[in-house]
């Protein structure tokens, strides 16, 4: 594991943007942008995905500045990140093309993007039909086609980032697991990697194997959920039922292994909390049965031509756009962005386990995303088998190494089923001063604006399900004082421009 280094500091924000643009042009991937309020101003940190790790570059905006030159005109992937900075800190990225509140309630009427006769906007959400997470889609449509789509994601903001501040590092894992619950293990992994990087420790070998086993089972469950939602959108009752049953079996297997259906409480800083309650032989047998059943049903589903027809050509994400944005996870891989965190920046036991060939599907439509997911399911079972085999041979070794951290800052990552999860953790006096979770959902969800090329309203659930993202992962700012989120615009100011009162202090524990 590479030793952690302090983030490289640029002289000023424009210099930092120059560096970043150069790096991205050279082939690195833009992985995130965050802000931290410090005594000497507002520190902007940019994460870059380089082969072998994540680099952090930083620049500080001196106190008293109202704005900074925006990165979005040069790098479109920073679009939502800068809006979030604006919402959280009140600072204005000058030159940003569309600076409406992203994670707070916005102005009354969202401006129109499409003109023409008879156009109207269908506001879908936040309470939608079916059991889904709350997000609002504003679909501008002339009645059947979807020329444009807007998203409003502020409904579910819970104050995760602020909640982290002041927590002990041990409690931070609990909050990390509950940020994006369906990827609990991946978030816990990313957080623990950050702490382990600060402390400079590496978990013992059996712990790494257990981590891999849980992460891969979580991946299988998430991909089965995506397939189940697609089958449900196509009204294939038998497929929905069978895939739901397989997902239930996977969750019950995880529960038998650790007591929690979602693998919570397993990953702790320094290792894992316990070995699986199932022996490796039993685990292998169960996994084998599951894999056989899942792959048989997957084959039957992909052989249903009426289902495949609905996915072919639906919601295409152009490869150039995916590469420019740095799309993560199966969404990116299906459009040719072959960047898998387990392969390019391996962690835990992945360097020693064989990942197999990457999925060859790269047409960029919903069908390709589903096929990539089936390939990953196969890959996950392969990894699970390897991990279980190795566990068999692992002697009694300790399951965790001490990971007391006094002070420091590092970035940790893990490959969640939705894509790469990044945690930037700063610790002082044994408590977290800043923890920034950047889930793959936050990075990928903005691409929903660009995949509706000539699709009609009935294609919408397929496109949404094929992205497979969790809205809970678009976590946000201070949510405990309802007063903070009241939007107000100063009298005489430009309409729609909202300023925020400074964020309140985190609630003391």
């Amino acid at each position: 594991m590479a030793a952690r280094a302090a983030p490289a500091r640029a002289a000023s924000v424009p210099d930092l943007w120059e560096e970043i643009t150069r790096e991205v042009a050279a082939g690195r991937r833009f992985a995130g942008l965050m802000g931290t309020r410090r005594r000497d101003g507002l520190a902007l940190s940019v994460h870059l995905a380089v082969p072998g790790g994540i680099e952090t570059r930083q620049a500080v905006i001196p106190p008293g500045s109202a704005g900074f030159p925006a990165l979005t005109p040069r790098l479109r992937a920073a679009f939502w990140y800068e809006r979030e900075l604006h919402d959280r800190f009140g600072i204005v990225p000058e030159g940003h093309p569309r600076l409406e509140p992203l994670i707070r309630p916005g102005p009354r009427a969202l401006p129109r993007h499409v003109t023409g006769p008879g156009l109207f906007t269908i506001a879908h959400g936040p309470v939608r039909s079916g059991v889904t997470e709350s997000v609002e889609y504003l679909v501008e449509t002339p009645g059947e086609e979807i020329p444009h789509l807007n998203l409003r994601v502020f409904y579910k903001h819970r104050g995760i980032e602020d909640r982290h501040e002041g927590m002990t590092t041990a409690d931070g894992v609990l909050l990390a697991e509950r940020t994006e619950g369906i990827a609990s293990v991946a978030h816990a992994l990313a957080y623990c990697h950050a702490l382990e990087r600060i402390a400079g420790v590496e978990p013992p070998w059996p712990a790494m194997l257990v981590r891999v086993a849980h992460a891969e089972l979580e991946r299988v469950a998430c991909h089965l959920d995506v397939a189940m939602r697609l089958a449900d959108a196509a009204a294939l009752g038998a497929a929905t039922a069978r895939l739901g049953l397989h997902k239930e079996r996977v969750l019950r297997l995880v529960s038998r292994m650790c007591g929690s259906r979602f693998g919570r409480g397993v990953v702790v800083p320094g290792g894992v909390s316990r070995l699986p309650l199932l022996g490796p032989a039993e685990l292998l047998a169960e996994a084998g049965k599951l894999e056989q059943a899942i792959m048989a049903d997957a084959g039957a589903l992909m052989g249903t031509s009426s289902f495949v027809d609905r996915l072919r050509g639906t919601g295409p994400l152009p490869p150039e756009r995916a590469a420019e944005h740095g799309a993560l996870g199966p969404v990116g891989r299906a459009s040719g962005v072959r960047d898998d965190g387990r392969d390019a920046r391996p962690y835990d036991a992945y360097p020693s386990l064989g990942l197999g060939r990457p999925s060859p599907h790269d047409e960029g439509d919903a069908l390709a995303r589903l096929l990539v997911r089936w390939d990953e399911v196969r890959q996950s079972f392969h990894l699970l088998r390897q991990a279980a085999d190795e566990l068999d041979e692992a002697a009694d070794q300790p399951l965790r190494r001490g990971c007391e951290v006094a002070a420091g800052r590092a970035a940790g990552w893990a490959e969640a089923p939705q894509g790469e999860v990044l945690y930037d953790v700063s610790v002082r006096d044994g408590r977290i001063t800043r923890c920034r979770p950047r889930s793959a959902s936050f990075h990928n969800l903005v691409l929903m604006h660009e995949v509706f090329a000539g699709d009609i309203l009935t294609d919408f659930p397929f496109i949404e399900a094929s992205f497979g993202l969790s809205v809970a992962g678009v976590a946000g700012l201070c949510g405990h004082c309802a007063a903070c989120v009241t939007a107000w615009s100063p009298p005489g100011g430009p309409p729609g421009r909202i300023r925020m009162r400074p964020p309140c202090a985190a609630r003391p524990r």
Binding site: A109, T115, P117, G143
Partner: protein, 730 residues
């Protein structure tokens, strides 16, 4: 002359008086006056404006009575040879009173007479015209300044229709036919300062002339062969090329008036161009002359060649589909209803085509089945179209606009007109228990008799037409649901999801609510008209056995009444003339459906134990929070968009998106979307012909050199040519 003949004469005279009154409505002299005087003057002027139409209503009532009398077998005759007055009415097929006379200009020897067929159409047309006139009177009294000339045009139209329906010789028929064309031009071009109206009036006139020309050619051909101008004598022309040509010409001429493909391009725009309830006069009253002409052609000339019947059926199916496809996607209310007229023409002529096929076999029952279905549909069309156009006139006056997206939620602003629109839509969509359901049932049943027809070609054509009619019925449902859902029941002007931005600032200051409500046919005559027309729309279905008897009496010149009465299986039950095929009982439907509804409601009330009365009013549930710019729920355009896509083959829909720069229309717009349809017949049949015709016309203009010696030379050349022609033909 009998009493009914007096009624005919009185009706025509009243129409003349109405025209005169309208043309000489007192000129207003500007002078200073007090408030009370001003109000009195306005009330007087309202009466003056309404008076011609009230006279017209009385005239229509007289003419309807005439029709009833003729239907009952009484003699009706005005003018004509003395020897032909009185006497027993002819009840045999093809019989008309009035002996054949000299083939010279038949003025004075022809006269007007009504037999049962004429009586039926008089009753249909002027029954509807009475109610339309009442609505017209109310509309004229309450909207706008004096419209001199509109009443004259209206009276001319009605008078010409009456004369066409009672003409006994070719000259009178042609004269009246051309008068109808002129009346249509006057009505359609009345608001000639509004954009698009002069062009529409011109197109209407052009097609009217085409139909007149076809009729002229056909009738003269028949007159020449039969030796007299009397219509009754045309049946004696021997079969041959002349008779077939004349049949084709006559059918074509009448088909232009009713709007059969490819002559339907004038109908929708012509109807939409006329002001207010004048559209109802054109579409609900005057269109029946075309159908009358077709029925009369079948009565006088008998069976048509098989290819003609097949061609008519195919064209009828095409007309129906084209009509409803366009009606489903129009943005203007009047155009939706206008294209629905085209669709109804298709349906009626499908029934008529079945009758033609039956006449060719010959099979009396098939003729009866086809004609019964077609005549029922004529009645439904007359009543429902009048109701729709009347209601839409009220809605247009109340909403100050014709666009479907602007006139939403009219049930609150113009309740009478909105109810009329809903009832008319229900009827034309063919939903039980309205009468449109009965007539479409008869039509489909008549088309389903194709297995009784011996020839394979006939059977195929009947089957294809049947499929087209069924498809049309489906799309009619979609069309009228949009109309009722958006215009009648949609969210009001300031409700959620209206085209204006949500929020308190959306008040419309242009129309004070009180004035808007007043514009909705609020006078008593208008409301009576809507009530009567709605009752007719719903009630004709309920009393369909009676309607069948009346129709069978009216069709007796064409097909024996006994054959048509074969549709009456028992006092309450109808069948499609052929027994043992299927039955329908609209009367029982009218009893059973409300009874079942009452049963369900009673049971629900009883079982709920009074809970149904505890009502808690909550706002409509919308999960979305803040508003969006622009419309937030389905617009009329958006509702029709799936139809636009599905029917892209018929409509040649083209949708495109392009980049636009933010402009005035929407500050932040980046993408522009547009979707267009074209009228295929106009685009591919008429437009290519238009250019050569214009070139020809430009060349011909050279003849109008303005020089006297050129004109004298033309006269000389014409004289010499005529002499040569006459000599050669002698």
């Amino acid at each position: 002359m009998t009493g009914y003949s007096w009624a005919l004469a009185a009706g025509l005279a009243l129409l003349g008086a109405a025209a005169l009154l309208d043309l000489t409505a007192g000129a207003r002299r500007e002078r200073r006056e007090r408030e009370r005087e001003r109000r009195e003057r306005e009330a007087r002027e309202a009466w003056l404006r309404a008076a011609p139409y009230l006279l017209g209503a009385a005239a229509s009532a007289c003419l309807a009575v005439t029709g009833a009398g003729a239907l009952a077998g009484r003699a009706v005759r005005v003018g004509g040879a003395a020897g032909a007055g009185g006497g027993a009415p002819a009840t045999t097929a093809g019989g008309l009173l009035g002996a054949g006379h000299g083939w010279l200009l038949g003025a004075g020897t022809g006269g007007l007479a009504a037999d049962r067929l004429s009586g039926l159409f008089l009753l249909i047309a002027f029954g509807a015209a009475t109610m339309v006139s009442l609505a017209f009177a109310s509309w004229a009294a309450h909207t706008g300044p004096v419209r001199r000339g509109l009443g004259a045009g209206y009276a001319l139209c009605l008078g010409a229709v009456a004369v066409v329906l009672t003409a006994t010789d070719a000259f009178t028929l042609l004269f009246a036919w051309e008068s109808v064309t002129v009346a249509f031009y006057l009505l359609a071009g009345f608001d000639r300062d509004r954009s698009g109206r002069p062009a529409a009036a011109l197109v209407t006139f052009a097609f009217g002339k085409v139909s007149g020309a076809a009729l002229l050619a056909g009738l003269l051909l028949l007159a020449d062969r039969s030796g007299s101008l009397a219509l009754a004598s045309f049946g004696s022309v021997p079969a041959g090329a002349a008779r077939t040509t004349a049949q084709v010409l006559l059918l074509a001429g009448f088909a232009v008036k009713v709007g059969l493909v490819p002559f339907q391009v004038w109908m929708a725009r012509g109807y939409a161009a006329a002001p207010g309830p004048a559209r109802a006069v054109m579409a609900g009253v005057a269109v029946n002359v075309g159908f009358y002409g077709l029925w009369r052609t079948l009565a006088v000339l008998g069976p048509a060649p098989a290819w003609l019947a097949g061609l008519l059926l195919v064209l009828a199916g095409l007309t129906a589909i084209l009509g409803i496809a366009h009606a489903a996607v129009q943005q203007r209310l009047q155009q939706v209803i206008g294209y629905s007229s085209v669709e109804n023409t298709g349906l009626i002529l499908a029934g008529f085509g079945v009758a033609l096929v039956g006449a060719g076999i010959p099979d009396e029952q098939l003729v009866a089945a086809g004609l019964l279905a077609a005549t029922l549909q004529v009645i439904v069309n007359a009543v429902a179209k009048s109701l729709l156009f009347t209601a839409s006139a009220g809605i247009e006056a109340a909403g100050r606009s014709d666009d479907l997206d602007q006139v939403r939620g009219m049930a609150r602003r113009a309740p009478w007109s909105a109810t009329g629109l809903a009832v008319g839509s229900l009827t034309l969509a063919g939903l039980p228990p309205a009468s449109g359901f009965v007539s479409e049932w008869f039509l489909l049943e008549a088309l389903m008799q194709q297995f009784r027809v011996p020839g394979l070609g006939d059977r195929l054509v009947l089957a294809i037409t049947g499929a087209a009619v069924a498809l049309t019925a489906g799309f009619a449902g979609v069309t009228f649901v949009r109309l009722v859902g958006m215009v009648v029941l949609g969210p009001g002007r300031h409700g959620p999801g209206t085209p204006r931005a949500a929020g308190p600032g959306g008040q419309d200051r242009r129309v004070p609510p009180a004035r808007a409500r007043q514009a909705d046919l609020s006078g008593l005559p208008g409301r009576i008209a809507i009530v009567l027309l709605s009752a007719a729309c719903l009630g004709i279905g309920a009393v369909s056995p009676l309607a069948v008897r009346v129709i069978s009496a009216g069709l007796s010149p064409v097909v024996p009444a006994l054959a048509t009465r074969g549709a009456l299986r028992s006092p309450w039950v109808l069948q499609p003339v052929f027994s043992g095929f299927s039955i329908l009982s609209p009367g029982w439907l009218w009893i059973a459906m409300p009874a079942l509804l009452a049963c369900v409601v009673t049971v629900a009330l009883a079982a709920s134990g009074g809970r149904l009365w505890r009502v808690r009013r909550v706002p409509a549930w919308r999960s979305a929070t803040a508003g969006v710019e622009g419309a937030g729920s389905y617009t009329a355009f958006g509702f029709a968009n799936p139809a636009r896509r599905v029917l892209a083959g018929v409509l040649h829909t083209r949708a495109q998106t392009r980049q636009v720069s933010p402009g005035d229309q929407a500050r932040t717009a980046h993408v522009g979307y547009s979707s267009d349809i074209i009228e295929v017949v106009e685009e591919y049949l008429y437009r290519p012909v238009l250019r050569p015709v214009q070139v020809l016309a430009r060349q011909a203009k050279r003849l109008q050199s303005g020089r006297l010696d050129a004109y004298l030379a033309y006269m000389l050349i014409a004289l010499i040519a005529l002499l040569a022609l006459v000599t050669a033909l002698r």
